[in-house]
């Protein structure tokens, strides 16, 4: 082979192919390499010279092998890093699960999901200081200092006029807590809420309490109906461990939510002065089992905001009431019952647990969210 222009062009071409390979276009690279073998076979065999050093073929083979190794290694490194983040996340959930159990031991109730009474309009069903469960468990997860800073006589924050009341709480709400964030999540540290002038700034979180398996299971106004409030935590809730009749190892306590799907998640609490204070924003601290896990962020935000979601590959971490943490696949058996806005597709609202069909239309996933459906969980999760 003669030196000069062809070799230069060859070098360029090899470099380009290598770059293409590294941007995961390996089949094309291998085609070109194998093509080269063919050419080499024809040309080199005619005029074989024995000089010391590497032949072009050897060089190409080495490059190809290195390329393949790098191509194999890089995803493995990424996967190992993600596995470590997932472990960290499950540790956070473990801490939360234990904190909830310690709260239960001290108060004989699991923490209230969303404080709906107190302040302003206690009689009219509207009002409330709007603290979430995540503010109430602070003393049980080594954050007493933050807990003591809050003034629980006032709403968790005031985004209209911070100077009149709740201004101290406004400052406390900015406090970041390390266990409140999943390392894989992309949420900003704090989230701004409120009007154009005064904006309250609240720390974000990746963890949500179990708000039940139905569309309206966060509200208190229809608690008598069986398809409402069957979670562990909802507005003005006070669930005892005895209320979890399905068993503590069969009921979800805390789950994940990623910023990519919903772009809203609040630590400490969420208030809405325009629409009845605590009412209307319970979903910012609770997930529900009505939607499939890890939905794509399409449709109205309201229709998937309460789905459990994470950036872990293929599923989410869940803390159960007994304190155990499980990673559950996003392909777990789930039956969609529809939101009211979507016309309640498939929804037999008069028979929410599908008793007539022996629970066939009530998926394994929803059974884990519901604390009192009475159905067994046959599938391994």
């Amino acid at each position: 082979m003669t030196a000069g222009r062809p070799v230069l062009a060859l070098q360029k071409w090899v470099t380009r192919s290598y770059v293409q390979f590294c941007t995961s276009w390996s089949p094309a690279f291998l085609v070109s390499v194998s093509f080269f073998f063919l050419q080499e076979d024809l040309t080199v065999s005619k005029s074989r010279q024995s000089t010391r050093g590497f032949t072009l073929v050897e060089l190409l083979v080495v490059i190809a092998i290195i390329g393949i190794l790098v191509g194999l290694l890089l995803p493995a490194v990424q996967a190992a890093r993600e596995a470590a983040r997932r472990m960290q996340c499950s540790n956070n959930l473990k801490q939360l699960g234990l904190a909830a159990l310690n709260y239960e031991a001290a108060h004989k109730r699991f923490p209230m999901g969303h404080a709906h009474r107190g302040h302003l309009d206690p009689a009219g069903g509207r009002g409330g200081t709007a603290f979430f469960w995540s503010a109430l468990i602070l003393p049980f997860i080594e954050a007493s200092n933050v807990y003591n800073e809050f003034d629980f006589r006032f709403p968790v924050f005031n985004n209209n006029n911070p100077t009149t009341w709740g201004n101290r709480n406004n400052e406390v709400c900015k406090t970041l807590l390390p266990w409140a964030r999943c390392p894989s999540d992309i949420a900003p540290p704090t989230r701004r809420w409120g009007g154009a002038v005064h904006k309250a700034e609240i720390a974000t979180t990746s963890y949500m309490a179990n708000g039940g398996s139905f569309y309206n299971s966060l509200s208190t106004n229809e608690r008598t109906r069986a398809d409402y409030a069957n979670g562990m935590s909802f507005r003005q809730s006070g669930i005892r461990i005895a209320d979890d009749t399905d068993g503590t190892s069969n009921t979800i306590m805390y789950s994940e939510r990623t910023w990519r799907v919903t772009r809203d998640s609040n630590l400490y609490g969420m208030i809405n002065q325009a629409r009845g204070y605590a009412q209307g924003r319970t979903s910012h601290g609770h997930n529900q089992g009505i939607y499939e896990m890890n939905p794509a962020p399409i449709g109205t935000w309201g229709s998937l905001q309460t789905a459990a979601s994470s950036l872990h590959t293929g599923g989410c971490n869940f803390a159960f009431v007994d304190g155990s943490v499980h990673f559950i696949s996003e392909n777990i058996h789930h039956t969609y019952r529809g939101t009211k806005a979507q016309g309640g597709f498939n929804g037999v609202r008069s028979d929410p647990f599908d008793v007539a069909n022996e629970g066939a239309g009530y998926g394994t996933y929803q059974r884990l969210w519901s604390r009192n459906d009475g159905w067994t969980i046959s599938e391994e999760f």
Partner: protein, 148 residues
């Protein structure tokens, strides 16, 4: 030389074969209502065998693309029950915090609550268009107890 060549070719073929996914297909298409493109319609493809469903939303040109999950697009291969709705509950906009008004249902019940739409998704690329008509009963959801 010949040996290593055939080895490389085998590797290459193996890589190509490994790339294809057999049980998923990508789905795109257009939704029209009375001949006009329908914007902001939410489509849901539920496999009749109970597997995980896919969802899509139309843009201003009535075009949609199905998404399977946060990290995967497309839909399961097989027969699907399809539901299409335009209704949406009032919800605070994630960016401003202001409540967005509820969107009314424009489509008759036969496309959502009592849907009889059945479509089959094959492996590879699928184009599934919907030509809907507004004739028929419409179910308008009410949001009296909407207080999520």
């Amino acid at each position: 030389m010949r040996k290593s060549l055939s080895l490389l070719l085998m590797l290459w073929v193996g890589l190509l074969v490994g790339c294809g996914s057999a049980d998923m297909g990508s789905v795109t298409g257009t939704v029209t209502l009375d001949g006009k493109p329908l914007a902001k319609a939410l489509l849901r493809f539920e496999p009749v065998n109970g597997e995980r469903a896919s969802m899509g939303e139309t843009d201003d040109n009535g075009e949609y693309k199905l998404e399977y999950s946060l990290q995967k697009s497309g839909a399961r291969v097989g027969e699907h029950k399809v539901t299409i709705t335009t209704a949406a509950e009032p919800y605070p906009d994630p960016d401003s915090g202001e409540y967005l008004p509820a969107r009314p249902e424009l489509l008759p019940k036969k496309y959502n609550i009592d849907s009889e739409l059945r479509k089959t998704v094959k492996g590879g690329r699928n184009t599934i268009n919907f030509e809907l008509s507004s004739e028929g009963d419409v179910h308008q959801p009410d949001y009296d107890d909407q207080d999520q």
